[in-house]
């Protein structure tokens, strides 16, 4: 492995910015976030980066590394070509605050527009419920989400078309799926998904699924089943026929 590497880091704020090169020593086993920390400590103390756990569990250090949305803490330098500068940019789908930090508050606000969990009445006299592991597992996959928003970052509806006001993006469709498929939930979000959250904008390019650090099968397991529910409810020709009759 190389003993040093160049990191080409985007630096700037909402008014603009440019890439700046930093050369720093690298050791075996290092991840991109380690390199960023080293640069911060030795060369650029005010370099802005958002991070927390450095163990792939909190989803704070999302960025674009050589053009691919990734968690900086889980990207090993040994998997990158260090002969070339490693290019690190903030996520593109959200407004830049400074350097590698973006304003992701939209995700938190959009989440509030999704109807909250509403359980059926308890199954047992002691106020508890009974659920089978198999039923629970389906939703547990969605609940692995660490809210890194990398899926939102690659979603072309948000990234290219900036439909943040009309569409909730893959992360929040996964959230809606977790609620809709929750064995205890009794709320109905199907109409909202069609009209308020515009699930129809998703054309299943699976970009979101490919960047998910938790390997959630976003498109196939979450979004498509929700689309099917919307279709069943609103576009089933036989049901429509019954409506007419």
């Amino acid at each position: 492995m190389a003993t040093q590497a160049t990191f080409r880091i985007w630096r700037g704020d909402p008014s603009g910015g440019q890439f700046q090169d930093f050369i720093t020593p690298v050791d075996q086993g290092m991840v991109v976030l380690d390199a960023i920390h080293r640069i911060q400590a030795q060369q650029a103390p005010d370099l802005a980066v958002r991070w927390n756990c450095k163990a792939g569990k909190c989803g704070s250090c999302s960025a674009e590394i050589n053009g691919v949305p990734k968690l900086m803490c889980m990207t090993r330098l040994s998997n990158l070509n260090l002969e070339m500068p490693v290019i690190i940019e903030p996520m593109h789908a959200f407004p830049v605050i400074r350097d590698l930090v973006t304003d992701v508050s939209w995700n938190f606000n959009a989440k509030k527009t999704i109807r909250k969990f509403r359980p059926r009445s308890p199954d047992a006299p002691d106020g508890t419920w009974r659920m089978q592991q198999a039923d629970v597992e389906r939703v547990q996959e969605f609940r692995k989400c660490i809210e890194c928003f990398l899926c939102q970052d690659v979603c072309h509806v948000l990234r290219e078309h900036h439909k943040h006001n009309e569409f909730i993006g893959p992360r929040l469709l996964v959230y809606a799926a977790a609620l809709e498929m929750h064995p205890l939930d009794t709320e109905d979000r199907v109409s909202d998904l069609r009209r308020k959250h515009n699930i129809g904008y998703c054309n299943i390019t699976t970009c979101c699924r490919q960047v998910c650090p938790e390997s959630i099968t976003i498109t196939e397991n979450a979004i498509i089943p929700l689309k099917e529910r919307v279709v069943d409810r609103f576009f089933d020709p036989i049901k429509q026929l019954f409506h007419i009759i």
């Binding site: 704020d13 050791d27 075996q28 086993g29 290092m30 991840v31 380690d34 911060q40 400590a41 103390p45 005010d46 370099l47 802005a48 980066v49 958002r50 991070w51 927390n52 756990c53 450095k54 163990a55 792939g56 569990k57 909190c58 989803g59 704070s60 889980m74 090993r76 605050i97 400074r98 350097d99 930090v101 304003d103 992701v104 508050s105 938190f108 989440k111 509030k112 909250k116 969990f117 359980p119 106020g127 508890t128 419920w129 009974r130 659920m131 089978q132 592991q133 629970v136 939703v139 547990q140 609940r143 692995k144 989400c145 660490i146 809210e147 959230y175 609620l179 929750h182 205890l184 939930d185």
Partner: protein, 604 residues
Amino acid sequence: MLEFQRFSYDVLVIGAGGAGLRAAIEAAARGIKVGVVCKSLLGKAHTVMAEGGIAAALANVDDRDNWRVHFADTMRGGQYLNDWRMAELHAKEAPECVHELEAWGALFDRTIDGRILQRNFGGHRYPRLAHVGDRTGLEMIRTLQDHGIHTGMEVHMECTVLSLLLDSGRIAGACGYDREKGLFYLWQAKAVVLATGGIGRAFKITSNSWEYTGDGHALAYRVGAELKDMEFVQFHPTGMVWPISVRGILVTEGVRGEGGVLRNKEGRRFMFDEIPDLYKHQTADNEEEGWRYTQGDKNARRPPELLTRDHVARCINREVKAGRGTPHGGVFLDIAWINERMPKSAEHIKRKLPSMYHQFKQLADLDITKEPMEVGPTTHYVMGGVSVDGETQMSSVPGLFAAGEVAAGLHGANRLGGNSLSDLLVFGRRAGRYAADFAKDNGSVTSDESQLQAVVTAAVKPFDYGSTGENPYQVQYDLQESMQDLVGIVRTESEMERALGIIEQLAARADRVGIPGHRQYNNGWHTALDLPNLLTVSEAITRAALFRKESRGAQFREDFPDKDPDWGKCNIVVKRGADGAMSVEKRLVQALPDELKAVIEEMR
């Protein structure tokens, strides 16, 4: 004059991990105005990293379990320095708190008959930890977050508190800054709940995230609250040791709960070599029995790998020091071996320990279903914290409450795994409830403008020094290095005296730190402002550890290797003296009422 963004609340919660969110939910449910300040984005707090589970005597897996057994286990684990009332309330209320989470949408793993599944953990007599694979903390924080956002609480994300405010001796709120724009904030409040977590960043090898700089401990100390049990810092026995850059990242105790074993480089299961008397009759004396225990045999006793964390960490330390460690200075933690005992073990491991599988695969190129892991102790948790009333969680400062890791009492000299998540729920709920009551019972507060200006003037000082000042990152590294080397797992008087000298020098350097640039999202500035807190807690830990001239629980003194029965009756309290210097004193542990004494006797 620097401007403030001004907000006013009945209850201000500082911290949005499990305890903070639970407190905020409880307070908001009482129809009052609640503000939450969190150092990171919502849902990223350190609770997210908890893996193993929530300890609660639900008795779903073993019907012999009940609050009395849980209480006795907690007291035994804490070497009887616990606040008995907290241990009692915790054991009694934890099951209800777990059910509450389920009612808010949490999806725990299930038993065959559809109830919440529970797993084995160190120091717990029966399988007691409600869990979701090895990502229980994420499930908990997401559940609280998604429930909380619909309760009307106002959340201030990426804000750090610089100082608590007083009004005639009573708490009056807090002031601080936001990361995003670098603006200063005043949050006036009739009651404040501290839920700021721990102090792990005072040490070099830690499982804790950057936020864990002892903020709540230091904030409370500065307004005169007492800190208790600060000498007890838990070193989790199993952190990653290789590669260097991931050193310290947690490897859940769940690995051992599922049958993982510890071996030295000679292949010996060294945990059988030394079993403390307090646990001898509860611990398996052969490998076969230990395996049966992990597979749910109710007649088997637990394997020695599941002894309390303080003991396991010391045993690992001993093996490494004796030259029986692995190439990178740890010991082997082997779950792959269960392949000898069960078919399709690889699938089983991936299902039970998914994050561990990914963590090692991605960060260390190692398949835990095939090879043993290398692990060693990592700074994980502080048992000590703000001394609070067991019932209400109020500190010695009227209106100032504390819950979760920042509060002391429940865990005594050593915390059992799984008792932290339940602590957050039980005492977060209590703190929220009693803080709301306090706010309702007391009139409004005013803030002292000159105090506010003094706080922010000090906060912007690093910009005056600019690039010519001390490097804040370097000061932090130097502190972490010293604490790790001199006040770590094995302590001795001369080293700790040295540490105190170094802390003093570092405090002088911290006073001269400089940062280029401006206040907007400047990590260097944030690091600079965390330093005073780290230095305060480091000094408190060191002074308390020096004062306790014995070895007990998480504190091991090479110069006093045995337990001293007299010290077994005392907690240590640290507070700011009248002269501004740190004072340390002994305080007798509150005597147990007879009925609880009887419970402990019965469970012996």
